[in-house]
Amino acid sequence: MRNILVAGVLAAGAMSAGSAMAQSTIRIGLQDDIGTLDPARSSQVVDRMVLNSLCNSLVDISPDLKIVPMLATSWSTSADGKTLTMKLRHGVKFQNDEPFNAAAVKANIDRSRTLPASNRKSELASVDHVDVVDEYTVNFVLKTPDSALLATLTDRAGMMLAPRTLADDAGVATHPVCSGPYKFVQRVQNDRVVLEKFAGYWDADKYSIQKVIYQPVPDATVRLANVRAGSLDMLERLAPSDVNTAKNDRNLNFVSIPGLGFYDLTFNISNGARAPKALKDKRVREAFELSIDRDAINQVIGAGIFAPANQPLTASSPYYDKSIKTTKRDIPKAKALLKAAGYDKVDVELTFGNNTVSNQMAQMLQAMLSEAGINLKLRPTDYAAALNAAHKGDFELLYLGWSGRIDPDGNLHQFVSCKGNLNYGLYCNPEVDRLLDDARVKSTVEQRKPLYDAASKILADEDPIVYLYVQPWPYVLSKKVQGFTPYPDGLIRLRGMSIKG
C-alpha cells in the first residue's frame, strides 16, 4: 500500500513537473525556414526573428521607433559627425562565458565589414575603423558622417557574437554563440530551431519563457490551423484571407501593426531596351497613381490590415511627411493625363513574384487600371526569376516589396538615387540625389526632416514608384500567451512574455 502511495505521489510530482515544463515553452510558427544564423551573412526576415532572441544588438528600438539602449547604454556623436562613441554595459557575458567588452565590439564590427560573404558591408560602409578606448568604451570612426548608422546597429550589423567563435564561419552559421536571452540548442533545417534560456543573461529575470521552438510552416492557413489546434502558441504573418477566422476564434488573439516596409509598383523608366516610352512621361505615371483605389485594396485583399501607403516612410517614423496625402482615385483625371501625354490607351506588362496575395493584387490592379485605359498584361514568375528580371531591366512594371528600415535612408536612397542598388527602373533626378546625400550626413531629426520632406515631394510629383500599401505584421496568439508587444520591425521580443495555464 505504502509503495503504491509513494508511486502515486511520485507520478503526480512528475506530471506537475511535466506541465510546468510545457507552460514555459513557446512554439512560434514562422513563414519561412531560416537561411543562416550568422548575423553577418543573414539575408532573410525570419533569420532576424530567431536572431533577436539569440543575440543582443548594441542598441534596440522602442515600439515608437526611438533608439534605446541594449548592449550600449549611452552614445554620442562628435561635432563633425565622424565619430560615434558608445559606452557599453558592464557585467554582460556571452553564452560561452566570455566577457562582453569593447574588444568584442571591435572584433564583431571588423568581421562584418571584412568577411567576404558579409551582407552587412554596405550597411557599415561608412565605418573606417573601430577604436577600443577602454574596456567599456568604443569609438566608431567614420569616413563620412552617417546618421543611419545608429539605426543600422539595432539590427544584424550591431549583433555581437562571442569573439572566440568568430574564426569559424561554418560554426557561427550552425551554432551561433551570442549574449542574448536565449542560447542555441538545435536546428533541423525546414523543421525547427530550438533555443533555451541563458541563465547568465544580464536581464534574465524579465524572461519567464524557458524554451523557444521556432517552426517554419510556409502555408499561412496551415500555420493558423496549427495555432487553433494547439500545436503552435503563436504565428507571424497571418494571411489576410484568414484575418476574420482568427478574429472570430475565442481562443485566439489577433494583433497587427503596420511595419516599416511597403509594397510598390516600380516603373522601368530607363533600364534597358524594355523601358516603355510611355512610362518616361510623368503624366502617364501619375495616371497609374490616380487609377488605383488603395482603400479598396485594403478592404478586398488586405482584410483591413493593408494600410494605404503614399510615401516610402511609415506613419510611425518621425520622418513621415504628413503633408503628403494619399491619392484619391480619379479616373477622369487619369484619362485626361493620358490624353495630354498623347495616349488613348497604354499597354504595360506587370512582372511579379507569384503568390496568393500578389496574384490577387495583380488582378485587382488590372481591373482598376483598365478603367483609365491602361491595359495591364500580367507576367507572374517565381520570386528568384522576378529578381533576375529586375536586375536585367527585363520588365516594364514591377510589383515588389521591401521589408523596410528604421532610418529613412534605408527606404529611400538605394531605391531612387541615380546609382542606387535597388533602383531597378533607373529613375534619376540629381536634385533628389543631392537632398538624400545631404540628409545622410546631417545628424538630428530637425536637420534631416526638411531634406526628406523635400525629396518626398519631388518623388510624389514624379512618381517613379507608386507606393501601394504598408507591409503589415499580423500575429495570432493563443490566449495563453501574454505580454506580447508588437514592434514595427516585426521581430518577436520575448521580454515580458509569459504562458499562462
Partner: protein
C-alpha cells in the same frame, strides 16, 4: 539471379549519368540567378560578385558540370549555397523522414488497396464491386492538399485527436512519431491505395478468366482457396510492378503532402532548393532519388523471380 542483378546495375550507370546531365542542364535553363536569390533584399553588388566566384557560377556550364562530377565521384555532393550545410548531411537528415512517410503510406495503401481489389474482382458486378470502385475513384480524384487541410481541420482543430503537423523522429518518441505521421500517411495512402485497388482488380479479373482457374473450380476447390491461392499469386506480378513504381514516386517526394503537414522531408527540401536556385541541393537530391528509383525497381525484379518460378529457370 546474381547475373541478372549485375546486369541491372551496369545498365543503371549510363542512366545515372544521363539523369545528372539532364538535371544540370535543365536547372541552368531556369530563369533566375541563385546569387541574386541569396544576396537578400539589399542586393549588394560586391556580395553578388563574391558569391558568383565562390560557387564557380561565372564559369561555363560544361566546366561547372565537370567540377561537380569530379567532387561527386569523391562522394562530395557539395554544400547548400544557401545554408552552407553539406548536401550529404541534408540528405541524411531528410531521407529517413520521407522514407518513414513513404513506408507508412505504402502500408496503408496496401492494407486498403489489395484486399479491396481482390474482393471487388471476386464480386464483379455486385454491390461490393461498385462500392469499392466509387471509393477508389474518390481516392484518386480528391486532391492531396485538400484532403490534408480538411483532415487537419477536422481531426486536429475540431477533435484534437492528432497533432496537426510537424515531425517527431521515431528515436525521440516512437508513438508520437507514428501519431504525427498518421494523417500525412493516410493522405498519401488514400491516393495510392486507390490506384493499387484498380490495378489489383484488373490483374485479378484477367487471371480469374483463365482456364486453370476454371479447372480449379471444376475440381471442387473452395472459391476462397481459388481466389487467394491460385489467382492472387499470379495476379501479384503486375501488382508488384505498379507498387515499385508507386514507391519510387513516393520517395521522389510527396511534395504537396509534406508542404501541407510541414514535414521536413525530401519533397520540401527540393521545392525550397528549386525556389532558391540552390543548385547543389537540387542536383544531389535528384541524383539520390534516381538511385533509389533504380534500387526499388531492381528489388521489384528480384521479387518477380521469387514470385514466378518460370523466371528462375530462364
Amino acid at each position: 539471379m546474381l547475373r541478372i542483378i549485375a546486369n541491372r546495375v551496369l545498365v543503371a550507370i549510363p542512366t545515372l549519368i544521363l539523369v545528372s546531365m539532364m538535371i544540370f542542364g535543365l536547372q541552368k535553363m531556369l530563369p533566375g540567378d541563385p546569387v541574386l536569390a541569396m544576396a537578400g533584399e539589399d542586393q549588394n553588388p560586391q556580395v553578388i560578385a563574391m558569391l558568383r566566384a565562390k560557387y564557380h557560377l561565372d564559369e561555363p556550364v560544361p566546366a561547372q558540370y565537370v567540377l561537380w562530377m569530379k567532387d561527386m565521384l569523391r562522394g562530395d555532393l557539395g554544400a547548400s549555397i544557401r545554408t552552407d550545410v553539406p548536401v550529404t548531411t541534408l540528405i541524411a537528415q531528410k531521407l529517413p523522414v520521407t522514407l518513414q512517410l513513404a513506408v507508412m503510406g505504402m502500408i496503408l495503401a496496401i492494407g486498403i488497396g489489395l484486399p479491396l481489389g481482390v474482393l471487388s474482382a471476386a464480386n464483379k458486378g455486385r454491390a461490393l464491386d461498385y462500392g469499392a470502385n466509387v471509393l477508389a475513384l474518390s481516392g484518386m480524384s480528391i486532391p492531396n492538399f485538400w484532403l490534408g487541410i480538411i483532415l487537419i481541420f477536422v481531426v486536429s482543430v475540431r477533435w484534437h485527436l492528432l497533432p496537426s503537423s510537424g515531425y517527431v523522429s521515431p528515436s525521440e518518441d516512437f508513438w508520437m512519431s507514428i501519431k504525427t505521421m498518421l494523417m500525412p500517411a493516410f493522405v498519401l495512402g488514400a491516393a495510392l491505395g486507390a490506384q493499387l485497388m484498380r490495378h489489383t482488380r484488373s490483374a485479378m479479373l484477367s487471371v480469374l478468366r483463365t482456364d486453370y482457374i476454371r479447372t480449379a473450380r471444376a475440381k471442387g476447390l473452395l472459391r476462397g482457396t481459388v481466389v487467394i491461392k491460385h489467382a492472387f499469386r499470379n495476379a501479384l506480378i503486375p501488382i508488384v510492378t505498379v507498387l515499385a513504381l508507386l514507391f519510387g514516386e513516393l520517395l521522389a517526394g510527396a511534395v504537396l503532402t509534406e508542404q501541407v503537414f510541414t514535414i521536413p522531408g525530401f519533397g520540401k527540401l527540393i521545392v525550397d532548393a528549386v525556389f532558391n536556385r540552390d543548385y547543389a541541393v537540387v542536383q544531389g537530391v535528384v541524383l539520390v532519388t534516381a538511385v533509389s528509383f533504380i534500387v526499388v525497381n531492381l528489388f521489384a525484379d528480384v521479387l518477380y523471380i521469387l514470385l514466378n518460378p518460370r523466371l528462375r529457370r530462364s
